[in-house]
């Protein structure tokens, strides 16, 4: 019964979304306030209906209703409650339901909190949101119904992929989806602006909180996924350039560019067409991410569903959404007039440089991810593009960008000079050179890229701090004056400072873990000792045991340095009862200097000997500490006063415009 209620709610949500997609849009075109006002109740009703559907699906999972196909394929009575719940979105159909639920949450949020938006803009934005929703409802109801029944119902389910039974991964997809789907807001605002034919400071300010929120969630989601891969896959790596990872990284690059270019629109009334295009591209890449993972066009370790019919449907959806919006952009975009002019060396110029690098990096990742497909389509055979491609292309792009990142905030709007900015950064430059020399002295020039990357991190970090010191006139005016200025800094500028600092920390982590990781694979008998990265790992033996729905072999290691015991590590190799799929749980001890990381492999012979993999990952935790700081910075910026007090009023009210005739 619950499944039928959920199914019915989903069908109703489709009809409500159709109404929401059409009536307010027509109302905005005709200037009819009554029809425009329909946007709010329909958005809220649509959200309520999807919420019911989602609750129903959660209910059938929690109660293990094995007459529902989805539950049979992805759940099992032995599974702990947390994973019964995360099983709801740990599969193709359920993750789509989560997708539309989040879409509806964002829509309802605009309906409720968007009181300061002009009614016509609000109506259009919500209609466009609903159009996206209609596409997804149809996709679910026609090809991927999460509530399909099975007859005869089996006695038990097939269980969730054991790799996905992990607390980090239970919340990773919702975070990532909040990011992906959050960019739909920027998209809807961009399409509405194209229809209205106007983009101005007020528009930029309205979109910003949504873009910022989406960016924070996406950043957090990517970090969580990378952290999960680090401790669960047991390879000691944290990023694999896997198509699914790239699918989340591309919208991040485009979204980061969007975040920066929209400030130019807000402050200087220029780069309008480009910003609109970025908003479309960012959301398109989010959709593409869904497509890449789900369609079977590209396969990867964590692809959930592969089915050509679904693929054709998603492709059609993509062509309509992306092709349609880009066509609209081609038609209406040239009419957006920018008024602000600027010199190449200026704040705008710096942000534009950031945008170009981000866009190029994004295009490179897209190319690398799709290359196997592009080559295969005309019959070129199957190939895969590995990390070497991405590293070779992205690192040379990122080095000049980070170099510029420290300088950019010193430049003034419109027109600026490079030399004074560089002069103010001379202390940062000295510190950077010192850092490079010290690193070189410790590690030698192997690999030289590690030295460069670490130096770049120091350059960015010190550059950001120098800028903050300049801003509060530290050491130039009395300390009390500096503190007073510090207290009066707007939160948005704190956001920038802290966010850039977070990136510096992340880069330092990447440099350390990428360049000086130490790895050792061997067979160890109990009592054997191996030294890795200056730490002595002693294997004290392994014993077997049982978890709630798996059996495991747990290996114990004692790690010491200079004869002093530092920690004991336990690594488990698990085999899940239902699927018989093995997983590894790495034993990890985290310090600021680096992670001690031990993994137990297969038994070798009968003498209690095991294959073991031992790692020292220098600075690796800095990667996630830095991303966490970036997320915090984004959230801080979100609380900036200008988002709370509402946007300035437009010169003329958009309500009175009959459709888009002003453009």
């Amino acid at each position: 019964m619950t499944a039928e209620i959920g199914h019915f709610a989903l069908v109703l949500a489709l009809f409500v979304a159709v109404a929401q997609a059409s009536l307010p849009l027509i109302g905005a075109h005709r200037g009819d306030p009554g029809w425009m006002a329909l946007a709010k109740p329909t958005a809220i009703l649509q959200f309520a209906l999807v919420a019911v559907a989602f609750a129903c699906l959660t209910h059938v999972f929690v109660t293990s209703d094995f007459s529902v196909v989805n539950v049979v394929s992805n759940s099992h009575t032995d599974k702990p409650l947390l994973y019964k719940i995360s099983g709801v979105w740990g599969n193709h159909e359920g993750s789509l339901l989560l997708w539309v639920l989040i879409l509806a949450i964002f829509g309802a949020a605009v309906a409720v909190f968007g009181a300061n938006l002009p009614p016509a803009l609000k109506a259009r934005v919500l209609s466009i949101q609903a159009m996206i929703a209609v596409g997804f409802y149809l996709f679910m109801l026609l090809t991927s119904n999460p509530f399909d029944r099975i007859f005869p119902p089996p006695l038990n389910g097939r269980g969730l992929n054991p790799l996905l039974q992990d607390p980090g991964l239970a919340i990773h997809p919702p975070m990532l989806y909040l990011g992906y789907v959050g960019f739909s807001m920027a998209f809807s605002f961009a399409i509405a602006a194209l229809i209205e034919g106007r983009v101005d400071a007020a528009w930029a300010r309205w979109v910003r909180p949504w873009t910022l929120a989406a960016w924070c969630f996406l950043t957090g989601g990517i970090a969580l996924g990378s952290w999960w891969a680090y401790y669960e896959l047991g390879w000691g790596g944290w990023w694999f350039w896997d198509p699914v990872e790239n699918a989340s990284f591309m919208p991040w690059l485009a979204g980061t560019a969007l975040l920066h270019s929209s400030t130019v629109v807000e402050k200087r009334d220029t780069l309008k067409g480009w910003t609109i295009l970025l908003a479309i591209i960012t959301f398109s890449l989010s959709l593409l991410g869904t497509f890449l993972v789900r369609s079977g066009v590209l396969t990867s370790v964590h692809a959930f569903a592969t089915d050509p019919t679904r693929g054709v449907f998603i492709l059609a959806l993509l062509v309509i959404v992306i092709g349609g919006s880009l066509a609209l952009f081609a038609w209406r975009g040239p009419k957006l007039v920018s008024t602000g002019l600027f010199q190449p060396v200026s704040r705008e110029g710096g942000l534009l440089f950031n945008n170009l690098v981000m866009a190029t990096a994004c295009a490179a990742v897209l190319l690398g991810t799709l290359y196997p497909l592009l080559l295969d389509a005309p019959g070129g055979g199957k190939v895969s593009v590995g990390p070497p491609f991405f590293n070779t292309v992205l690192i040379p792009l990122m080095i000049p960008m980070i170099a510029a990142m420290a300088v950019g905030p010193f430049l003034s709007w419109k027109r600026s000079d490079l030399m004074p900015a560089l002069r103010r950064l001379r202390i940062a430059l000295v510190l950077t050179i010192v850092a490079a020399i010290v690193t070189y002295a410790v590690h030698g020039d192997e690999p030289v890229l590690g030295v460069v990357a670490l130096a770049m991190a120091v350059w960015l970090g010190t550059g950001v701090l120098t800028e903050l010191a300049e801003r509060i006139r530290l050491f130039r005016s009395p300390l009390s004056e500096s503190f007073r200025r510090l207290g009066r800094l707007p939160r948005a500028s704190w956001g920038m400072t802290i966010g850039h600092l977070g990136l510096a920390i992340t880069i330092a982590g990447m440099a350390g873990a990428g360049a000086w990781k130490v790895e050792s694979i061997q067979v160890m008998k109990p009592g054997d000792k191996v030294t890795v990265g200056g730490y002595e790992y002693r294997f004290t033996g392994a014993k077997a045991g049982k978890g709630p729905n798996y059996k495991f072999v747990g290996g114990q290691f004692t790690v010491s340095r200079h004869g002093r015991e530092i920690t004991k590590l336990t690594s488990e190799k698990r085999v899940y009862n239902v699927s018989q799929q093995p997983t590894t749980e790495a034993g990890i001890h985290t310090t600021w200097r680096g992670d001690l990381y031990a993994v137990i492999g297969d038994a070798e012979g009968s003498g209690g000997a095991f294959v073991t993999r031992l790692y020292f990952n220098p600075l690796v935790v800095w990667i996630w500490a830095g991303t966490l700081i970036m997320v915090f910075a984004g959230a801080l910026s979100l609380t900036d006063r200008r988002h709370r007090v509402g946007a300035p009023h437009r010169k003329s009210s958009a309500v009175s415009l009959p459709g888009a005739q002003e453009a």
Partner: protein, 183 residues
């Protein structure tokens, strides 16, 4: 560059990509991977079920002619759903069907079930201890293997067969298999 052209460029790039996607979709038929596919059937020799006084069913019986090996059990509800279709296949005589009676606790249960619903199988082996089923990598019943005349597993289908699946999935596999001896 012409301004209008610049604004149209993203659309053109996207359409080219979409074209590639469309081609990519047609090129990627995903089938259930099967470890045994393309390999000889595992060795097994099963005793006959009660009431059938033939020699039982062994891997050597699969040489010479394309055949189906169907895993079933009297306890399996989905097998009962599949059963009438197997009877129809037998009546058409398209391809011999052999059965593995899997995991019967009561030695009479399998024969009783076949007496009641009809017996579509040329040969039937009794596999109460899952010896053959484990060798075949069976994940559940019913499951059907297509084995060619050289005794090589060509396809595995999980779940009950029906007319649609026969036409869309199994028949194309059978058509690909050349008769033994033909070049």
């Amino acid at each position: 560059m012409n301004k209008r052209l610049m604004f149209t460029l993203p659309l053109m790039v996207f359409l080219i990509l979409a074209g590639y996607f469309a081609v990519g979709l047609t090129k990627d038929p995903k089938k259930l991977p099967n470890m045994l596919k393309g390999k000889p059937v595992p060795d097994f020799a099963l005793k006959p079920i009660k009431g059938r006084d033939d020699k039982g069913f062994a891997s050597t019986d699969l040489k010479g002619e394309t055949s189906l090996v169907n895993i079933f059990g009297s306890w399996c509800v989905a097998c009962q759903i599949e059963h009438p279709f197997l009877m129809k296949l037998k009546a058409e005589g398209a391809v011999p069907i052999h059965g593995i009676d899997w995991r019967e606790e009561d030695p009479d249960a399998g024969p009783d079930w076949l007496n009641k619903h009809g017996d579509p199988y040329a040969l039937v082996g009794d596999d109460p201890r899952s010896k053959a089923a484990i060798a075949f990598g069976v994940t559940g019943a019913p499951e059907t293997f297509v084995v060619d005349g050289d005794g090589v597993v060509r396809f595995k289908y999980v779940g009950p067969l029906n007319a649609d699946i026969w036409r869309d999935v199994i028949e194309p596999v059978l058509r690909q298999i050349k008769p033994p001896g033909a070049s």
